[in-house]
Symmetry: C2
Subunit: 149 residues, 2 copies
């Protein structure tokens, strides 16, 4: 089975926002559509800071993947952070997520990205297992510290 | 005491590379000048993926701060990662690092950044203390996983 992915553009805003709503609801994240439009809009409009891929048929997508981009001094090149991965509940457990993350990884690698990171909860064994299967390696020694501005 | 910071541009490449060499040497990082030019050049040339500030007099800087930029869905806006902070050994222990990181934080906040992150080693109590003093909060539950492309 091969599930196509396609880079989402400005015309996909409503579709993306509607999928994000499902994702945020499922995770209990308190964002509204205004927030989602502000978060997704710039990436769909071509911001160099990230990209969104739709999974499956673009008119009725099965989900999406949102990656933000950054710069790595150690790698002297671009790196990415997988921010959100959503697959509609009725098509889960078929390996689509794994397949799609592989496809995104290949696309980003061909575009010169040196590494892809993901932040998961230390207690979320499911997310860690999924990321591990896709090729991500845990870096338990690394501590993230944050200053909210 | 106030230590000025100034955004480094294309003309500062040699100065930045020379400071980075000291930083990488001190930390035992095996990068050469070719790597450093590739890592710093795009940021000095105006890449939206990051910025470098020189500390003190630009002709004879006391150090530098390198921040990479990214996109946060949760914050619906830009965020940054402090990648490197270097202060010349002979002017350390005067609070310059703290002061300079505050100045960078203010500058980035005025430019709309929502958060600043830093990755430190879990065993590096000094780095954690420094970051804590500057206003960063440890997020021990967050696990980073990486896929090198």
């Amino acid at each position: 089975m091969t599930t196509a992915i396609s880079l989402a553009g400005p015309d996909d805003l409503d579709r993306v926002v509607s999928l994000m709503e499902r994702f945020h609801e499922e995770r209990g994240q308190p964002f509204d559509d205004t927030h989602r439009r502000k978060a997704a809009g710039p990436l769909l409009d071509g911001s160099p800071l990230g990209a969104i891929w739709l999974i499956g048929p673009t008119r009725a997508p099965l989900g999406y993947v949102l990656v933000s981009f950054g710069w790595s001094v150690n790698r002297a090149g671009m790196e990415g952070w997988v921010n959100e991965v959503f697959i509609r509940p009725n098509v889960r457990r078929r390996g689509i997520g794994t397949e799609v993350l592989h496809a995104v990884t290949v696309a980003l690698s061909q575009n010169g990205l040196r590494a892809l990171h993901v932040r998961v909860d230390r207690d979320d064994a499911n997310a860690q297992r999924f990321c591990d299967r896709v090729g991500f390696e845990a870096r338990p020694n690394l501590l993230v510290m944050t200053d909210t501005l």
